[in-house]
Symmetry: D2
Amino acid sequence: MTVNSLSTQVRLLISCHDKPGIVAAVSAFLQKNGANILQSDQYSTDPSGGMFFMRVEFDLYGSYQLEDLRHSFIEIASEFSMDWRMEPASRKKKMAIFVSKEDHCLLELLWKWKAGELKAEIPLVISNHKDLQNEVESYGIPFFYVPVTKESKAEAEQEAIKLLHKYEIDFIVLARYMQILSPTFVSTFPKRIINIHHSFLPAFIGANPYAKAFERGVKLIGATAHYVTDDLDEGPIIEQDVLRVNHRYTTDKLKIAGRQVERIALARAVTWHLNDQIIVYGNKTVIF
Amino acid sequence: MTVNSLSTQVRLLISCHDKPGIVAAVSAFLQKNGANILQSDQYSTDPSGGMFFMRVEFDLYGSYQLEDLRHSFIEIASEFSMDWRMEPASRKKKMAIFVSKEDHCLLELLWKWKAGELKAEIPLVISNHKDLQNEVESYGIPFFYVPVTKESKAEAEQEAIKLLHKYEIDFIVLARYMQILSPTFVSTFPKRIINIHHSFLPAFIGANPYAKAFERGVKLIGATAHYVTDDLDEGPIIEQDVLRVNHRYTTDKLKIAGRQVERIALARAVTWHLNDQIIVYGNKTVIF
Amino acid sequence: MTVNSLSTQVRLLISCHDKPGIVAAVSAFLQKNGANILQSDQYSTDPSGGMFFMRVEFDLYGSYQLEDLRHSFIEIASEFSMDWRMEPASRKKKMAIFVSKEDHCLLELLWKWKAGELKAEIPLVISNHKDLQNEVESYGIPFFYVPVTKESKAEAEQEAIKLLHKYEIDFIVLARYMQILSPTFVSTFPKRIINIHHSFLPAFIGANPYAKAFERGVKLIGATAHYVTDDLDEGPIIEQDVLRVNHRYTTDKLKIAGRQVERIALARAVTWHLNDQIIVYGNKTVIF
Amino acid sequence: MTVNSLSTQVRLLISCHDKPGIVAAVSAFLQKNGANILQSDQYSTDPSGGMFFMRVEFDLYGSYQLEDLRHSFIEIASEFSMDWRMEPASRKKKMAIFVSKEDHCLLELLWKWKAGELKAEIPLVISNHKDLQNEVESYGIPFFYVPVTKESKAEAEQEAIKLLHKYEIDFIVLARYMQILSPTFVSTFPKRIINIHHSFLPAFIGANPYAKAFERGVKLIGATAHYVTDDLDEGPIIEQDVLRVNHRYTTDKLKIAGRQVERIALARAVTWHLNDQIIVYGNKTVIF
């Protein structure tokens, strides 16, 4: 067995209709093509005719090349009508962060990134306010101010899209961006925009969730990280978490608790996305 | 200091509009009337003119009598327009349990009761099905079968109310009773009916919450224990809890997780009610 | 694809030294022998020469027989020097429960068993006290009283072993049994005895953990479910959980919290064991 | 009632042997001296002769002065042999942070401080390494490099003490400082040094806890915030928390989980200390 390093590791993700023989076909293919399986997970929604999902991590050794492997895999993929991708573990995804004025989610991501906990490149941060410019730039990351008004919204989105294309962004994290993205924008980055919802979905959808939570007298405060779709706050859920609160929590203290749980849930969701651990199907996620 | 025992302990609960001097007045009164304060908690929603809540546990020693104390307290109570009660800790509240066919919440309560964890009397269990009769009777508790149909509902509730009055019931626990109680019934036992909601309120109100949770792809399953009011599932929340789930959870496995978290949340709510730790105000609870 | 049911499902568990080609070999074998993989998980401690663990759930369809499959698998197993087993999902494991006087863990298991949450047979319960006889028998389960004194301990263990063999027990759950088993007993059921430790291992090993926890002023109470080895409380950990406590918890209230968390942790560990989700290696567990 | 603001709020903390009449005496005193009680909590370890703890928040209105109130309180305090203090809520405590090379705990505190979640002044950060100088100074906080070697340790501590006195520090947070403080240092700041222990005490005391946790195969990773005493890692516990882990966690991933839970537990402990919510007695804490 060859020495293993991130530079030769590949992640294969597969979704397709379930049929007998998929695992055998995939693992025989990998074995024949110089790949040593390091880890493999699969999930079937319903073995009698449901969906099949698989994630394989493998080492590609010797003189084998990922491009050749991808090319060879097309045959097997079309046999099973697979939706698939092979991602080299060594390639850091390019992540854009969108923020507004609140910094807690942004800083959580930047700290984890700097600490080496998030294997990503962050080519830019985009904001509709200048408040966080210094903080972003102190991490050596370019900050782009793209103001948004009702009238300029379409234009502003086009400007953002141009920037995202220019920097060859792989995915976007809305770290408390507070702007609703248009269907045009969302469809430009399908399943590639992660949002943190300031509440425990499906409860308290919409504005002022902490005031609503205070009114309702809840005993837990939650947050939900999800992919963005055209339905506001209704995209596939990636992660949820809660913190315990009590009657002594004012709306302000609920907000502080909310920030804490938002940071935790969003950072987990981003980590899983970066590690290619998530497959989206319909309005749900499989987290491997 | 005299020897302290449950038989001389009293719990005083107070709600009123906040004013300076309440704590001093109450503690001076208790001191003067032979009471030694063991524990005291208070909470003000807003010190400049909001609501004030207080719970005091005290020992009544020597020859002092609770009835006399209650009588003497009326003066101070009316001065501050208090809503108040004094409960001897030694008196076990009489708890009726309503069930349908599912036994998990019922058995959790019965085990904890038998283990001495719930200081209550359980004079009867009422059910609209006979399924759990043997289980209840094996604990030595009378079981009453009160069937409910659309036509007989009003009558059945009257029969239940008669039983509850006959057994001098203090409060009712709906341990997965699955029937909506009429406003008449609810108003007969105001703030004295505890329900366990098979979901994390305010999400997934109504029927089939686990099927809904499955469809939505949630990552946490919750349960909410609350007092029953006329608004279905909208009464004051007492306790909430969650369990982590993932994409491998079928609707059936979500139900099992739900049962687990329902048992835990309901048992905590009942414990706090029995210990006079809850004050209801508006649509919220203060848990001391 | 044939209709799938528990009666044709099989679980294959494998441990061996890691080598390239294992997954491919196993899945090709299954594919060739009429098995459709439903779910597959694997884990490598260290891809460059560590240990490899795999769990596969598959449907065996048509006229294929498990006995034949086991026979055919021997070749591949010896090629990779595998430690392995194939378990039909339909076969309920025979579980013996050992108890002493405390009933909380016992009743948790019995209720989950009766509710269909634990797919097991429970042919007998063994106890060194008669306290729980009625409770056990009310579930229709034979109860054996096997008293233990210092002098009779070896004899009592032999009596228990005889019973366990007679009832063809697969594994044993010590549901607060409070007796230390001899190395002889333990080696008769290697990796097949599950204990619940009344504390968060490795803290508070030994007697009176709640008094120790009270003295230390801890803010969390834990429990640990583990396999029993000759080292008291040092066997492979299966599951751990905690509950939050505070300064108001007396030793008695810590015990109540401890019971709660013991029930939860033990029931999870037993569920995973029943579903063949656990592989033990060295002093650790892999939970698939 | 006068308008209430932080500038007139005072927190009174009391420890003494339990006797009848303490609450009445204290609240009558406050009432007579122009104080309106906003919140009051008390706890008795054992009403028949144990310890009594109380925390009162009150508004001091009109022309009443805190210094006068303190002076007047001496009489009542000596009657009950109280250990007590009155702290104005408006006075921000002066907090020194000690760090070494790891930044996660430091940054958690700095973020929360900047976000207004920690009501403190941070006059300086002291470190035995220069690694975090820029980060600290970017928050506008003076950074002092005080190197420590075996030989220079006593000297270095004296230098630190001098700095702490010069800046009139109220308490010290060891945010992963990694140096054992001498009894001389500890006794200079009794009950005023908070440490975060990189493990779930009392488990895994000492060095390399994550390697030990990995060896032991634990399923939870914890952290403990505690006051520092001469017994290493044995001081009064303020807060503990855990995160769930599994067999896939390498020692490195356990460290990442550890950092996460350390940040959370330490920030909570510091918040409670700043709000005067903690009373230490013996080797324990009461958290109000």
